[in-house]
Each structure stands twice: as structure tokens, then as C-alpha cells.
Symmetry: C3
Subunit: 174 residues, 3 copies
Amino acid sequence: MSQLNLASHEALRISPRQAMALRPLVEQFNIEYCATLDSGDIENWPTYFTDDCIYRITARENAHLNMPVGLVYADNKAMLHDRAVAIARTQMFAPRTMLHILSNTRIIDARNEEIIASCNFLLLQTLVEGPSTVHLAGTYYDRFEHKGEQELLLKERQVVYESSVIANDLVYPV
Amino acid sequence: MSQLNLASHEALRISPRQAMALRPLVEQFNIEYCATLDSGDIENWPTYFTDDCIYRITARENAHLNMPVGLVYADNKAMLHDRAVAIARTQMFAPRTMLHILSNTRIIDARNEEIIASCNFLLLQTLVEGPSTVHLAGTYYDRFEHKGEQELLLKERQVVYESSVIANDLVYPV
Amino acid sequence: MSQLNLASHEALRISPRQAMALRPLVEQFNIEYCATLDSGDIENWPTYFTDDCIYRITARENAHLNMPVGLVYADNKAMLHDRAVAIARTQMFAPRTMLHILSNTRIIDARNEEIIASCNFLLLQTLVEGPSTVHLAGTYYDRFEHKGEQELLLKERQVVYESSVIANDLVYPV
């Protein structure tokens, strides 16, 4: 089960000054994460996670009800790796491109070598010879490993999207 | 009347270095403001304003003509409070979700315990069992109270949206 | 020819800490750049470039194939100036408004008074009495002149948009 509270609005558990100081660090992580995905370098996607990570994509509705089900669920890095390899090998080359727009990175807590944060995302999809459309919009709810000067790693990423309907073709990570 | 110039492009009145130094502070404020609105915690929305605040939602066209009319207008916090209570009590539970994407926070001036800033926003609406669509796009034009180490408060927020047509159902704050 | 690699995902050539330190500087530049364009102050658009700048708007598909063609191409500031004047004089007044949403500013390299960076953009267009729609989404690939305390200037901006089709009416800079 998720260790994050997705069911309601969480107040900051650190001061706004502390949140401000840590925000660039989490933004830096997410910028690289999205650059990897948007470039189609999906086999490197699992490198952003810890070995015992949780990764889930689920609808806002399910998240609010604390329902464990989701569109995608993995509870360790090996599962992410299997998924990444499967996608990389079965997708046609570049039938579409994805572009992440991130904003509102919110640092909620930071203690015990862990950062709790959220971030809004807009995922644009562009089919070959088609327009760019909003494929998915939502919020990342994250728990990062934060050890000294080491790079951050995701211990948990809950991708909560707004819509309760979703195109069947969502196979790519978000 | 607004003390902000909405009719034309304003040059920075501080150095880019000063603007850079203050940007995280205003971003921090706006991230929390949007988290409150997007979570539906509308009764806490007025806490982001000073007692004698101005809040208006208006079309770009009206703003350019310096027309005082707008879709929504309030000139003190009590009015915002009344509005928030009315919306919280009359809306059906979660008929839709809102998600703010913010960017381009621009610090224009800072003096006399006041910060003048603007920020682009994209407001996505997702109806139950529907896709996420762009509900409103535009710019916040803001005047913040900035007293020492105290948290920022809005003395004035002019929400200027791009479209001259708007769905009748805009009752939520932006 | 472009000195930037648009054909594949580029790893950072500086440390994440260095990237974090320079990010606000590039964000500051891009915020002002977009404020100038979105306000319609197009005659000032060339002031963001060096004299011998490269500016191109091209489709992701072309960029991946390293094809030099593009929708728009200029290889010095005088060409940008001519273009800006032509647009400013021939466009009807405010038939539409443009709004840039920027995110994911990525600092890839910094040395020899130069910064290599990229940034995702979403360009919203609003026709008079119409809704706001996604006009163009993509990535800026940039090479900045970075001389001491001087403001940044663009030595090269490659605007790479996702779609392979585009409305014929793209005359405005991006």
C-alpha cells in the first residue's frame, strides 16, 4: 500500500522557507525524468527509482477512495525494467511523441533522508501528422530517497490523473 | 480601481537579479494557493488575501480597455469569504476536478513592502467520465503584501483570461 | 547548420548542482522573452538575440533527421528584425492572443561563455470570441551567450514542435 496520503489535501509539514530551499532539487530530478521519457529512452526510465520502489498510475477517483487498484502497478524496480523492455521492443518506432509540461512542484515534508513532494503534469501526445492534444493531466505524489549529496531516487511515485476515462493505448510510463 | 497596469506590457522596474531572487517566494505562494483550490478546499481560499484585497476575473479584452467590469469582482476579503461559502455549499460534490498549471512567474517590481508580479496559468477542467480540457488560460496580475519574514498575502489579484467567451459555469475561483 | 544536437537525447555535460545553479538565469531570460511576444511587442523580439544568431522553427521529425529545412529560418539578427517589422505592419490588430506556458528548463552545458539549454513550451492561441486552444507544443533548444554579469543573449534558438502538420497561419515568432 502507498505510504502517501492521496485522499485529501495535505498541509505542508515543513516551513515555506524549507520548501523553497528543496524545490530546485526535486525540479531538477523531474526535468531529467521527463527528458528521458520524452526522448523515448524508455529503457533508462527505471534508473530513476530505488530497488524496492512503488510505481502506480491511477485515476483521481480511485485515489480519493484509497482504492489500491490502478491502471499500472509495480512494487519493485525489476517490474519497471520488465515493463520498459517490453514497451521498447513492441512499440512501433515513433508512432507518436510525448511531451511533459510540469508545474507547481510542492515540497510537503523532508526528514529521515526522505522528501515528500507533489507536482502537476500535463502530458501532450502528438500522433504522426496529427495535432498535439492533452493526453493526460494530473499530479505526481512522490516519496524520494534523499541521501546527502547523492542524486534523488524515487521510492514511490503515484501518478494520479484527473480523468476517470482514459484511452486504452496508455502503455507508456508517465 | 486596479492599481495594476493591465493595458500594456510592463518593463521590469527592478534588475533581473532582484527579480530572480524574489521569484521562488512568489512561486511558493502560488503553488500553495493552487493546491488549496485544486483540492476543493475553497473555504480556505480567502486566507491568501489581505482584508482590503481586490480580486477580479476579467477578459483580456476588457483589461486592455481598462474597463472595470469583470466576470467576478470583490474588493474585500469578506466578499471572498461569502463567495467561498456559497460555492462550497451549493456545488454538488466533485462533479468535476480542476488542475492549475502555472508558469512564467514574472517579478516586475518590489518596494515599500509590496511585490508586483504576474504569472501565466492554464486551468484544466475534467468532468466526471470526461477528458481533461483547457477551461481557461490567462495571466494573474498581482500585488502582494511582503512584510519581512511574514508569508505573502494578496492585496490584489487580477485574473485576466484570454478568451472573450467563457462557459457560464465558471463559479469557482481561479 | 545548427551547432546543437537535436537528433537524440543529450546527457547533461555538467553536474546536476551546476545545472540547478544556472537554471534561474535561463528561466529569467525566457520569462522576459515570452512576455515580449505575448504582449504583441514583436518589434522588440530581436533584442533577445546576438547579431549573428540562428533562429529556426522546425518539426520534430525534421530535427531528428538533421534536415536543415524548417518553417522559419534566420541566420542573423537583421533577418529577425525584418521579419518582426513585416509582421507588426501587416497583421490586423489583435485578431488573436498568444500565451506561452514554459516548463522543464534543462541546463545541459555551460562553458566558454556559453550555456546550452532546452525548455518545453506550450503555445496557446485564442481567437477573438473563440476558446483557447493548443496551437503548438514543443521544445526550445538553445545556445546562450553568457558573459559575466551581462544579460543572456540567444546565439541560437531551435524551436522544435511536435506536430508534423501545422496551421498555415504561423507567422508569429515562438
